[in-house]
């Protein structure tokens, strides 16, 4: 891991290379899980909890954007990935906290309920790893 960045040429590390590919794979699975979950919720019982289900859809969209931008790994897509992951982090912390403090507001579980407990808390760890990857692979000469 270390030593690679010491090369004077720099910017050899990319979000779609090495360990970054594992994170892209995990993001891809969550993109699929969140989108599928939101689709089922919105199609079959939207009126039960519109807010929770729209948040599920937003989560799905964010995961899709993060997956594609991290997989592309270009400079422009890195910027988009950063925005998506920041929204993701805010989302999981906000929804997670609200679902603990006020369960009535979230009668239906979303992917981010209780910080993603239904998914082994991976939704909470994922944005942190995403930001770490962006930091670790940041261009040496901006």
């Amino acid at each position: 891991m270390s030593g690679v960045r010491a090369k004077p040429t720099g910017s050899t590390l990319k979000t779609n290379s090495g360990a970054g590919r594992v994170l892209v794979a995990i993001y891809g699975i969550f993109a699929l899980a969140a989108t599928a979950r939101a689709s089922v919720q919105l199609i079959t019982r939207f009126e039960e909890a519109p807010l929770a289900y729209l948040l599920s859809a937003l989560a799905g969209l964010i995961y899709i954007v993060a997956t594609i931008t991290l997989a592309r790994g270009t400079r422009g897509s890195r910027r988009l990935a950063f925005v998506a992951i920041i929204i993701e982090l805010i989302g999981v912390i906000t929804v997670g906290t609200l679902s603990v403090v006020d369960p009535e507001a979230f009668p239906r579980a979303t992917l981010w309920s209780i910080y993603g407990i239904g998914y082994g808390f991976v939704p909470l760890v994922l944005p942190i790893l995403g930001l770490a990857l962006l930091w670790h692979t940041r261009p040496v000469n901006p």
């Binding site: 090495g18 360990a19 594992v22 794979a25 891809g28 979950r37 089922v40």
Partner: protein
């Protein structure tokens, strides 16, 4: 769903997870046997989904019909995509990519066993 088939998928996927981690620790890309094994896991998973969908068409109604169908479709696309993504660049992380997909297949099959409860 056939319980024996589901447990086979769970066992096969579990081995795939461990295999992926082992090659990553050994700092090797997945070997041919490992890739063939992943393909075999996909075939069994695909068989399970086809049988389950056939049962639904035949009249079986799980409590969460839409969710169950979503799982049955979603579970079969994981390994092929992971296979492709693992081979884009062949290194130790290729094994982890396969392991992540196999873990998802593992977890989704466990969930399918719960979902496969007749409605009312």
């Amino acid at each position: 769903m056939i319980d024996a088939l589901a447990y086979s998928v769970i066992a096969l996927a579990g081995v795939a997870v461990i295999w992926g981690i082992v090659t990553a620790i050994a700092n090797k890309p997945p070997g041919k046997a490992q890739l063939v094994y992943a393909a075999a896991l996909e075939i069994v998973t695909l068989g399970q989904s086809i049988i389950a969908v056939a049962k639904i068409i035949g009249g079986f109604r799980p409590v969460e019909l839409a969710t169950t169908i979503g799982y049955l479709i979603g579970i079969v696309i994981l390994i092929p995509i992971a296979w492709f993504w693992a081979n884009v660049e062949r290194d130790r992380f290729s094994g982890i990519v396969l392991a992540v997909a196999a873990l998802a297949v593992f977890a989704m099959t466990l969930r399918l066993l719960v979902l496969w409860t007749p409605a009312g």
